[in-house]
């Protein structure tokens, strides 16, 4: 009897220890995942001994929502967009995160003041700023090269296929910018039927020339294969192809769409303590600056900016490639999580109807 008790206690202890020794992180895959593995996961495992299982998804919010709805949460930390983080927080699905628990900046500034505005939400902590930008293959244009969002929609001047993501969020704004709207009136326009009509009318003009993509790695592939001459995509992925793989791609910063990626922990996470450890570790000043060594996304802490230096090859200055570079921000559209929490369903339906119609 006694032996059984001791044995079962030992077993339970082992099971607990084994469970505490890992954390499942769901992120976006590709070059972005590599940057997180290098900057966060490897030093985290070295320091704490906790194994990090990296899981890739086209958009980690998708499996997260499905896991919550099915009441079977298997991930501990999810890297998702702001609008999804706010929405899921409002639905009570995420753990609340107290900013005082996060590490302060090296100079002692508390986390709540160190993070850029909007980067700390009730249930989420941002790690990076990233942009959706237009890129083209410079070697495919002999004469004039495209320079603006309007050129993206000008198939007469620049013939060839275009790559666009299959969702309303990152297509409608671009159509409006190309149609001459100014970046700060985008959400006012999309809030009215006339503005939405205007965006769809502009999209109609290139509908037959569009190849639709869904995963972040696709646009880079489409461009490299020559399936499209121009495509929108995530700026870090293009940077990885341009600098890391020496592809002759060029980026148009006009009309970039700025968004944040946020770490969240679902309420029913299997390893909540390890998840919180990971989140604190990954969002400290040095790790955020380290990530910029591997991918061109802007860190969410002010104190990290000064530490961002060279790309991992040691010769490429990162600043000109950052979406947060002031020169790139002049015509940038900021993500509006409130707007999308409200109108995503409606505009997605309209977008699908438009897409399916011939």
């Amino acid at each position: 009897m006694k032996t059984t008790l001791v044995l079962s206690t030992a077993l339970a202890g082992m099971a607990f220890a084994a469970a505490a020794q890992e954390v499942n992180v769901v992120s976006w895959g590709g070059a972005y995942e590599v940057s997180q593995v290098e900057a966060y996961n490897k030093p985290f495992t070295a320091e704490t001994g906790i194994t990090v299982n990296m899981i890739a998804a086209d958009n980690p919010a998708t499996p997260l929502k499905a896991q919550i709805e099915a009441r079977n949460v298997t991930g501990d930390v999810f890297d998702i967009e702001v609008s999804d983080a706010i929405r899921l927080c409002d639905e009570g699905a995420l753990m609340e995160i107290n900013p005082d628990d996060l590490p302060a900046a090296p100079d002692g500034t508390p986390a709540s003041e160190d993070f850029i505005e909007g980067a700390l939400q009730d249930c989420a902590v941002a790690n990076i700023f990233w942009g959706t930008v237009i890129a083209f293959d410079g070697s495919k244009f002999e004469g004039e090269k495209p320079t603006s969002a309007a050129d993206f929609f000008d198939t007469e001047k620049f013939p060839g296929k275009r790559g666009l993501p299959k969702n309303p969020k990152r297509t409608l704004y671009l159509a409006l910018i190309a149609d001459g709207a100014s970046p700060d009136e985008i959400y006012d326009l999309l809030g009215t039927p006339e503005g939405v009509d205007r965006a769809f009318a502009k999209l109609d003009s290139i509908k037959n020339d569009v190849v639709w993509w869904e995963a972040g790695a696709q646009p880079v592939q489409l461009l490299a294969d020559g399936e499209v001459v121009m495509t929108t995509g995530y700026n870090g992925r293009f940077f990885d192809a341009m600098v890391g793989e020496k592809k002759p791609f060029e980026i148009i910063w006009d009309g970039q769409y700025m968004d944040m990626d946020m770490f969240v922990i679902p309420k029913d996470a299997p390893n909540p303590e390890a998840a919180m450890e990971y989140l604190k570790f990954a969002t400290d000043t040095q790790r955020l600056a380290d990530q910029a060594k591997y991918i061109a996304y802007g860190p969410s802490r002010q104190s990290s900016a000064a530490l961002v230096g060279m790309y991992q090859d040691g010769t490429t200055e990162m600043a000109p490639h950052m979406p947060t570079n002031p020169e790139h921000m002049t015509t940038a559209v900021m993500d509006d999580p409130e707007f999308w929490a409200d109108h995503d369903a409606e505009l997605t339906e309209r977008f699908n109807a438009w897409l399916a119609g011939s």
Partner: protein, 432 residues
């Protein structure tokens, strides 16, 4: 020992049990009852054998599908978290203007939901019926959490004018009972007007009816193509000498064993504009470099890839039926003067019908529910209704809507099955 199943025991009773004209066993029990009891024991034992299978089907099939279908008409996202307002709706008939009691109920519920962080769920439910109201709930919730003072009507209108909208109150009343038909209405591009009548949605929002039609039309086209391609192959398989037909069979089965994703991706490599087929055509000079054909990311891509993937489901049932057809019937017809076409049409073809029926039904039903292939190669014009179901399952997370669409699809397939049964007879189906 007397045993009900022992024939000798039964004979013994014949001799002893004739007193009241009923057969009895050796120990004097009526034979019929003993027999029934032993048979029911055997039946119970047989039932125990199939019990694991039954439990498996129940747990993995009937229960989840039932739960899913239930979501299509049952959504308690609003009613479960807004009890006070629900009670007010129960006590006051439709058409009553919201009085201070209603506003008080609304404020209490909002406060509780904001505290419990369920206000997002409430807002999402109403947002399905009145787009653009989700943030009304969540932003009001954030303010209410800091405290709210009566009179509540003024306090809430102070936070947002939108609370006075009659359309919002009508939607909240509809959502205050968890049972709703609104998802089915939305699944056929209909909605409720402010006065509760059913109307079509705006033309530019209509998508589902068109996608249902497209799904059935494409499935029909694919079924016909698989028949046209599969029939001769199945005939060859059934009639060639064993050695050759075995080789041919491997060629049919090999793609069948290959992963679906691999096959679909191979089609992408072959068909894309910078792909193998276009390269060959340009090299041969059939088309110029600037006129590469668009064969994928549209309906053509969906049809080609799905036909290829579903072909074995047509060939295999046809083959199994054709193999059993006695060749002497056709020979007899020919010897009686029929042309080869007549012999085929009147003698051979009718005998393949059970296989054709099975193959066509299999291909059609599989095609109706296909979604990976159209999602990958369909572009925008090759999307099917199942892609919308998948989208509502994973992206918008409107599972009620996904369930309503799936229920309609299931209903349509069952209807088709019933029609098939009435016209051809399910007994004539031969799967192999």
């Amino acid at each position: 020992m007397a045993n009900a199943l022992d024939p000798h025991a039964a004979i013994a009773t014949t001799a002893t049990g004739l007193a009241d004209g009923r057969l009895r066993t050796a120990d004097g029990k009526p034979l019929a009852r003993a027999l029934a009891r032993s048979q029911s024991r055997a039946r119970r034992r047989a039932f125990l054998l199939v019990l694991p299978l039954l439990a498996f089907i129940l747990i993995t099939f009937v229960v989840p599908i039932g739960q899913m279908l239930q979501r299509s008409f049952y959504n308690d996202g609003f009613s479960a978290h807004m009890p006070a307002l629900g009670q007010w709706f129960d006590e006051n008939p439709r058409g009553t203007d919201p009085d201070e009691a209603a506003w008080t109920a609304l404020a209490t519920d909002l406060e509780a939901a904001a505290e419990a962080r369920t206000i997002g769920i409430v807002g999402t439910r109403i947002n399905y019926d009145v787009p653009g109201t989700r943030s009304l709930f969540t932003s009001t919730g954030r303010q209410v959490r800091r405290g709210i003072e009566p009179p509540y009507r003024e306090a809430l209108l102070e936070i947002d004018e939108g609370w006075a909208e009659p359309r919002l109150w009508s939607a909240m009343r509809n959502a205050s009972t968890p049972l709703t038909g609104n998802f089915y209405l939305a699944a056929v591009d209909r909605t409720r007007a402010d006065d509760g009548s059913v109307v079509q949605v705006e033309e530019r929002q209509r998508v589902y009816v068109m996608l249902f039609m497209r799904t059935f039309w494409l499935s029909l086209v694919i079924t016909v193509i698989t028949f046209a391609l599969g029939f001769p192959i199945a005939h060859l398989l059934a009639t060639l000498p064993m050695r050759k037909s075995n080789l041919l069979m491997i060629l049919v089965l090999l793609p069948f064993w290959t992963s679906l994703l691999v096959r679909t991706t191979s089609w992408m490599v072959l068909l894309q504009q910078q792909g193998v087929i276009n390269d060959i055509l340009v090299w041969l000079g059939v088309i110029g470099g600037g006129q590469r054909l668009q064969m994928i990311y549209n309906q053509t891509g969906t049809i080609i890839a799905m036909t290829h993937i579903l072909l074995p489901f047509m060939i295999l049932p046809l083959y199994s039926v054709m193999r059993t057809i006695n060749p002497s019937y056709v020979r007899a017809a020919r010897s009686l003067g029929a042309t080869s076409w007549t012999a085929f049409r009147r003698i051979y073809f009718p005998q393949t019908l059970p296989g054709l029926g099975a193959g066509a039904l299999l291909v059609f039903i599989l095609a109706v529910g296909y979604y990976i292939t159209p999602a990958l190669v369909g572009g925008s014009s090759g999307q099917l209704i199942s892609n919308m179901i998948a989208m509502h399952m994973t992206d918008t997370l409107n599972w009620s809507m996904a369930a309503a669409l799936a229920a309609l699809l299931l209903g349509a397939v069952l209807l088709l099955y019933w029609v098939y049964d009435r016209m051809v007879g399910i007994d004539n189906l031969k799967l192999g």
